[in-house]
């Protein structure tokens, strides 16, 4: 039987951030303190970064830079907007931004799921290394820049230079794309891609919210994989 434990509350107006992060880092994997609330974040940076436990942290308000950076296993929910680099370098777990995300959301993330209800600004998924990012709004310019692995799914539009210098990450965009970056091209949507996309949406609890057939798949043309002087203009 799991005892119902009231969430522990951290008030960042009165408690230093250091104490919040220190406490969360000290939790053992078998902790029963699995539910935490952070109030009065007021845009503080590095909230709930470096977590490594199967806990849930709910942030009530707007977070600053690098919220949930390097996240492992944890679920972090931002009831508001998130600043630059939310879930950057995440390894696993789930980060859910109810509002908008600033630049470099999910930068270099290796695993886990980053779900943004609103819009993400420039460089969403930059340097992506295997995580899944779902943005229900639109993403800004240079999104998926040098994205190496993982998926970026955008319900809305994408800004300029989508997927510039992309490696093997997969992009699915439902709306318009202002322009494609170097070596990024639209690709055929085959059954396996539709299944992949459906699977990702379902895992995020978004099954049936949008019509899969409205997405276009984008990925690497792989012309920059080995240097050739005729491609110099793309560099």
């Amino acid at each position: 039987m799991t005892a119902m434990v009231e969430p522990a509350v951290f008030d960042l107006a009165t408690t230093p951030l250091r104490e919040l992060n220190r406490t969360l880092h000290a939790l053992r994997p078998d902790t029963n303190m699995r539910h935490w609330r952070v109030i009065n974040p007021a845009g503080r940076h590095a909230i709930a970064c470096g977590l490594d436990a199967p806990i849930t942290v709910e942030i009530e308000g707007h977070a600053g830079y690098y919220c949930a950076g390097h996240n492992k296993q944890a679920t972090v929910i931002v009831h508001g907007n998130a600043g630059v680099g939310v879930a950057e370098n995440m390894m696993s777990g789930f980060v859910h931004v109810k509002g908008d995300a600033s630049q470099s959301a999910g930068a270099s993330a290796h695993g886990g799921l980053l779900l943004i209800e609103g819009n993400a600004a420039a460089r969403c998924g930059i340097s992506l290394k295997g995580a899944d990012i779902i943005v229900k709004g639109s993403v800004g310019h240079m999104s998926a820049f040098m994205a190496q692995a993982g998926t970026l799914i955008v319900f809305g539009d994408a800004g300029e230079a989508l997927g510039d210098s992309i490696y093997e990450a997969r992009l699915f965009v439902r709306g318009s794309v202002a322009s494609l970056g170097a070596d990024c091209i639209a690709k055929e949507m085959r059954d396996e891609h539709r299944a992949l996309l459906a699977g990702k949406l379902e895992a995020a609890g978004l099954a049936g919210e949008v019509d899969i057939s409205e997405f276009t798949r984008y990925g690497s043309a792989r012309r920059l994989y080995n240097f050739h002087i005729d491609n110099a203009g793309a560099y």
């Binding site: 845009g43 308000g61 707007h62 600053g64 600033s102 630049q103 600004a121 310019h141």
Partner: protein
Amino acid sequence: MCGIVGLFAKTERLQPELGAHLAQMLAIMSDRGPDSAGFAVYSAPVPGAIKLTLRAPEGYDFEAMASRLGGALGAVPNITVRATHAVLAIPAGTLASAKSWLAEHAPEASIVGIGETMEIYKEVGLPAKVAERFGLAAMAGTHGIGHTRMATESAVTTKGAHPFSTGPDQCLVHNGSLSNHNGLRRTLMREGLSFETDNDSEVAAAYLTAQIKGGKSLGEALEASLEDLDGFFTFVVGTGTGFGVLRDPIACKPAVMAETEDYVAFGSEYRALAVLPGIESANVWEPEPAKVYFWEKAA
């Protein structure tokens, strides 16, 4: 590298508290810029007069200077002294004579800003201290912009602090690092502009001034800057009627805006906006790159 704050009161309700909010926002941005700070407040005009903000060395006798200037102009100008700065209200139409008198008879006092409503204050030191010295928290106005500075390539001096004035009731603050400012400075010097520092932001301000003198509107000048300025920048520009925002096309330097019924606010980080009234329900968003934004008072 730096922090920028800006606040534009859409309604009269916020105007008496403008300085108080700006002072708080400025203090929060100290981490981004501990070296020096400055701000421009657009406060009540003096009927029939132009305001000159002057800066002089510590201990300078502004009142004595104002008397002597009064002798030359025919009436002693109204003067408000705040530490090393003073705002002189001179009769409109005497601006040219006042400037030449000051240049000749009060060379230690330099003109930081000119305008019907704009006052500019800037000093070396922690932003909270700078705001305190000049009594920002008590100032009222329709809008204001502020800046906290972490000097990158030029010296930490008062002259190097922002805002830089670009014309009557106009000034600029900058976060970022330009890469072609030295060549541009030389070009502008050949066109007759003079510079006090080796600061890249001063070049940006002078560039806008030159463009406007050449007949462009501020908006057009900002558009032109996208072509002519190289490097990374977020600009916030104050004018008599409002303020403008422009980010370079790459847009690495941060910029967050918030809007309610009462105000439009700008901050380099959301943290600076978090202290504003009604921020919980404000529309919070980020300006797009290479797009000129402007908010102004209705006529």
